[in-house]
């Protein structure tokens, strides 16, 4: 990753083109960003699973997964939950504001190892962002033929907390992806599935034959999803998970996001379960 002027600590300027409120609680928004300079856009070559530091001068930086897919040209998407100083300030942004993006950072999902395979995507809550990137990438005409079945199980606490609602509907209508959307508890208007993600995964029971699984969700979901995947016959090397950690530099220098000898920013955020099992459980 080479940043502005070859200095990886300097962000590229981008304009907020559009802000979309994603959930009923109104604390998750998607920001559509466009580069101000063409050469920056060209330098920012990314793949699903990578992240970037969103940079607001005067407030600081926040590491956020890239929600757009490189197959969507001309903009970047970041879905951000309002948590601290930077994300709160970002949430108060109006369209047209200039902010910074530093990246792409980290490793992507192993999209070079999916040829001819079945791909299972399991997501929970607002951690669905880089999985959305992966789905968009795999559904692109130039990529869909590279894989066999594409199955997605996605759940949230309540119907209002599902993100990318319009897109979920579109995907449910397509026949080149099998969608299973679920909520922990529905409301009066909810006609869809109810149940926790691991339970739905057990019911759907996708084949682990020549398959790879990408997982991202809250720790509690991961804890109960891994045994189900294991029962379905997924070996740990075919289960790929994306992690979060407090970060600053994003390039493996500042020393805070390590799990054992690996840095989530540089060696991750995408790890196989096999890799994680060899590390101390300090995350």
């Amino acid at each position: 990753m080479k940043g502005n002027h070859g200095n990886p600590y300097l962000p590229y300027p981008v304009e907020i083109q559009k802000v979309t409120v994603e959930n009923a609680d109104r604390d998750i928004k998607t920001f559509k960003l466009a580069f101000l300079n063409k050469e920056h856009e060209e330098a920012f070559q990314y793949l699903p699973g990578q992240f970037a530091e969103l940079s607001i001068f005067g407030k600081g930086e926040s590491p956020i997964g890239i929600a757009s897919s490189p197959t969507e040209e001309g903009y970047l998407l970041f879905t951000v939950k309002r948590m601290g100083v930077v994300t709160s300030d970002l949430h108060n942004s109006e369209e047209g504001r200039i902010i910074g993006v530093r990246g792409p950072l980290g490793k992507s999902y192993p999209l070079d190892q999916i040829e001819g395979k079945n791909v299972l995507i399991v997501g929970g809550g607002f951690a669905f962002t880089t999985l959305r990137s992966a789905i968009r990438y795999l559904l692109a005409p130039e990529n869909r033929g590279r894989i066999n079945n594409l199955t997605c199980i996605y759940g949230a606490r309540s119907p209002g907390e599902l993100i990318y609602k319009e897109e979920l509907k579109e995907w449910e209508e397509r026949d080149d992806i099998e969608m299973y959307v679920t909520v922990d508890k529905g409301d009066e208007s909810w006609t869809g599935r109810e149940g926790f993600v691991p339970t739905v995964l057990k019911e759907v029971a996708p084949s682990s034959e020549s398959a790879i699984c990408l997982v991202c969700g809250p720790p509690i979901m991961l804890k109960f999803t891994f045994p189900v995947l294991s029962d379905l016959g997924f070996p740990p090397e075919n289960i790929v998970v994306s992690l979060e950690m407090r970060m600053k530099c994003g390039i493996g220098k500042c020393g805070r996001c390590n799990i054992g000898n690996l840095y989530v920013c540089k060696d991750g955020p995408v790890f196989t379960l096999e890799q994680l099992q060899a590390l101390p459980a300090e995350y």
């Binding site: 990753m1 080479k2 940043g3 502005n4 002027h5 070859g6 200095n7 990886p8 600590y9 300097l10 962000p11 300027p13 607001i56 001068f57 005067g58 407030k59 600081g60 930086e61 926040s62 948590m83 601290g84 994300t87 200039i98 902010i99 910074g100 720790p219 979060e244 950690m245 407090r246 600053k248 530099c249 390039i251 493996g252 220098k253 500042c254 020393g255 805070r256 996001c257 390590n258 799990i259 054992g260 000898n261 101390p280 300090e282 995350y283």
Partner: protein
């Protein structure tokens, strides 16, 4: 260790002249400066006195490459205003101990690995490091146990030996050789006798040092991750972080924005894994919630994770953490079997 390139000598009486010549060539010269009972590395004045009879500098010289506080960029009304990279200044750091020079060599493995750290690299490339071989290691020194030695060359450009009447200057890097060649009129080639004398100094000092049983320490600590090894030191630890500030190889940093009205700057500052907010997530979750995990992280990083990543222990045996710990945690006792 790099092969000996050139070895020169300069009479002690003429060393001040050499220092002046270094300054007149456009280098900023930093050397030992006495401040009360302490010796620090500071800019040397017009009439420098060069005796290298101190054990080591109070603070490690890492701040010359990774300053305690460093501006990364400036901004105005939310937009990048200027690249904060200052014009490179040629510097000579004189009087480091080989352990501290080794620490710089270790920091190189982090900061010069891709993507290179722009700010560190600029300072590193413009600095000549002249280390002084130790004849009198302190009781808290253990460099020979962690890959170094009283006259080890890693991280230095030139090694300086005190031969009594004269100093011997041995170039141990290309940068050091080029530097010495600029002053060839003021130095003499070292004689065979002088080279033998310098070898003896190094060997004698090394022979007096305690050797800790650290073979296989990385694997041993990795296995002890969940053991009670960490209980005793973490119960004593106040979490003050002084060990990390004094440590020449501790490099963790924070990045924060400071603003005054419409102007501001992005600054990196030393941080410490001893503090709870170091790993605190925005959600409130903390993967290292107590001092036990934090103390373990510091030792594991230096003696296990770093070995996995770079093949080297990230400790140079300078003993500063032992000397400065307010509750007398002795690193040697923690990592010894």
């Amino acid at each position: 260790m790099p092969e000996i390139m050139i070895a020169k000598t300069v009479d002690k009486k003429k060393f001040a002249d050499l220092a002046k010549a270094i300054v007149s060539r456009g280098y900023r010269l930093y050397g030992p400066v006495r401040n009360g009972g302490e010796v620090t590395l500071g800019e040397v004045g017009e009439e420098p006195e060069f005796d290298f009879d101190y054990r080591n500098f109070k603070m490690s010289p890492k701040e010359f490459f990774l300053p305690q506080s460093e501006v990364l960029c400036r901004f105005c009304r939310g937009e990048l205003a200027e690249d904060a990279a200052p014009a490179p200044q040629k510097r000579v750091l004189l009087g480091l101990r080989p352990c501290d020079a080794r620490a710089i060599w270790l920091l190189d493995k982090v900061f010069l690995e891709e993507p290179e750290d722009f700010y560190y690299k600029q300072k590193r490339e413009n600095t000549v490091v002249i280390s002084v071989a130790c004849a009198n290691p302190a009781t808290t020194c253990f460099c020979t146990s962690v890959g170094g030695g009283p006259a080890a060359a890693e991280g230095s450009d030139i090694l300086l030996f005190d031969l009594g009447e004269a100093f011997l200057l041995e170039a141990v890097s290309e940068r050091g050789e080029e530097f010495l060649n600029q002053f060839s009129k003021m130095t003499k080639d070292a004689t065979k006798k002088q080279v033998a004398q310098k070898k003896k100094i190094a060997e004698e000092a090394a022979s007096r040092m305690e050797k800790l049983p650290l073979d296989g320490v990385a694997e041993r600590l990795a296995k002890a991750f969940d053991s009670d090894l960490w209980e005793a030191p973490s119960q004593k630890c106040l979490g003050c972080g002084i060990c990390t500030y004094f440590c020449p190889t501790c490099y963790c940093f924070d990045v924060t924005d400071e603003t005054l009205r419409e102007n501001g700057r992005r600054v990196r500052t030393w941080d410490s894994c001893m503090y709870s907010p170091f790993t605190l997530h925005a959600s409130g979750h903390n993967p290292r919630p107590s001092q036990k995990e934090r103390v373990r992280q510091r030792f594991m990083h230096k003696f296990s994770y770093a070995v996995d990543n770079s093949g080297q222990l990230f400790c140079v045996g300078c003993g500063r953490c032992i000397v400065n710990c307010p509750v007398n945690i002795d690193l040697r006792e923690v990592i010894a079997p």
